[in-house]
């Protein structure tokens, strides 16, 4: 640990910039995952066949080991190659399942009496989706975003393997050089990021819970 502290003191600027790079990777991936996952979830929630297909595909991606997924993406044109862009695509794909699943669950698990009266009041299906299901399901959707964020912060350390930078850079170097101080310089900030994200999104989720 003393090694780690002296390393951290000496290289705090590098650690900080790797942390920021890491946050950037996660933030961009989450942005796209939410942008795709939430509307897709809203679209499929009342369509059983597309829902099964979308959740199935998202589930399959989730089972591919992350290092392998990064590897698979490298040769693919446009989205592939070495660097940040490939990493963001892979991280987005990983974050999709929890968001998609929670969006479906959140929008579906609404008190039947509320849905019945919404329909009986003469609301259209679209109005019910946006003005009843969505606000009432928001806390559950956000719980999915929270899970996805924590997963992504962890998986993003592997992005260093394909040259995307971030805190994984220290971890890979630490493993290669059998150097605990280097390893911890990547692992500890990543863990702290995950804890912080979990806390902040948890607060937001509690605020959005209606009942």
């Amino acid at each position: 640990m003393t090694d780690f502290w002296s390393f951290a003191m000496e290289h705090h600027a590098e650690i900080l910039s790797a942390t920021l790079e890491h946050v950037q990777l996660v933030a961009i991936a989450m942005f796209f995952a939410i942008l795709i996952g939430v509307p897709l979830g809203m679209f499929i929630v009342q369509r059983p066949a597309p829902r099964a297909i979308a959740l199935g595909i998202a589930g399959i991606f989730q089972t591919i080991p992350s290092l392998a997924l990064f590897g698979f993406l490298i040769p693919i044109p446009f989205i592939g190659g070495v660097g940040q862009r490939t990493a963001i695509v892979a991280l987005t794909v990983y974050a999709l399942l929890p968001i998609l699943r929670n969006t479906c669950v959140g929008l579906a698990a609404i008190d039947p009496a509320v849905l019945e009266s919404a329909e009986a009041m003469g609301m259209t299906q679209r109005q019910i989706l946006f003005r009843v299901r969505f606000p009432l399901g928001l806390a559950v959707i956000l719980a999915g975003v929270r899970t996805a964020t924590i997963i992504t912060i962890g998986v993003a350390t592997i992005a260093a393997a394909i040259g995307a930078g971030g805190l994984g850079t220290f971890i890979f170097r630490g493993v290669a050089l059998v150097n605990d101080a280097l390893l911890l310089a990547g692992a500890i900030p990543a863990a702290l990021l995950a804890i912080l994200a979990d806390f902040l999104l948890g607060q937001l989720e509690r605020r959005l819970r209606v009942i």
Binding site: V114, E116, S117, E119, A120, M121, G122, T124, V132
Partner: protein, 257 residues
Amino acid sequence: MPVAASAENMIEIRGVSWRANPHSSKEILVDVSLAVPGGTTLVLLGRSGSGKTTLLKLVNGMLRPSSGEVRVEGRSTQEWDGIQLRRRIGYVIQDAGLFPHFTVAQNVGLVPGLEKWPAAKIAARVEEMLRLVGLEPREFSARRPRELSGGQRQRVGVARALAADPPILLMDEPFGALDPVTRAELQREFRALAQRLEKTIVFVTHDLREAMLLASDIVLLEKGRLVANGKPPDFLGLRHPEVRAFAASLELNGATA
């Protein structure tokens, strides 16, 4: 009231049967016919599973008849646009079904809002409706449904159903989940309200006492069939076994109460 085609009937149900799906042999409703003249209250009485709620949902077009026809204001529900039809029909259910993320005022103003009334008109209407159901607007407008008692929630449910001034009101055991004292209170108030507003009302209950109190006409459903009907004082004298069964439950209630 056997069906006599008449312009005065706000609601007419003609030979309606309903199954959950075309392949199912189990009919929830079997050849039901009845008519509700404007300004009267029809009570649908029956045990759980007798098809009362299904019949209500056929009136506002949430369900379509498997055979037969439902006419509202002289037009078949097949011809009505479902959304337009439902905005002309107030609906109150047992759990009120208030939107938990809306305030009381937002809940009551829902249908006027869907109908794109100007905001000032909605606000005035919401106040009027809350007063009508005995809730002081200043005290209740900003509350959420979870901050209300069961009886208050039902009052808001009634106010919401009346807000866009629909000619027809459908009520599905609206007072069923309330304690007996609150229930009796709301029943009395609602009867006075119904008489004053001259709405056409279809009211579902399994409580004969409630039916006797509120109904212009009572219709008894048993396993999806209309088995008896009559005006409140006469209804109790009918000889049909299901009427006798309900009458017996009333006597039992009277004896223990």
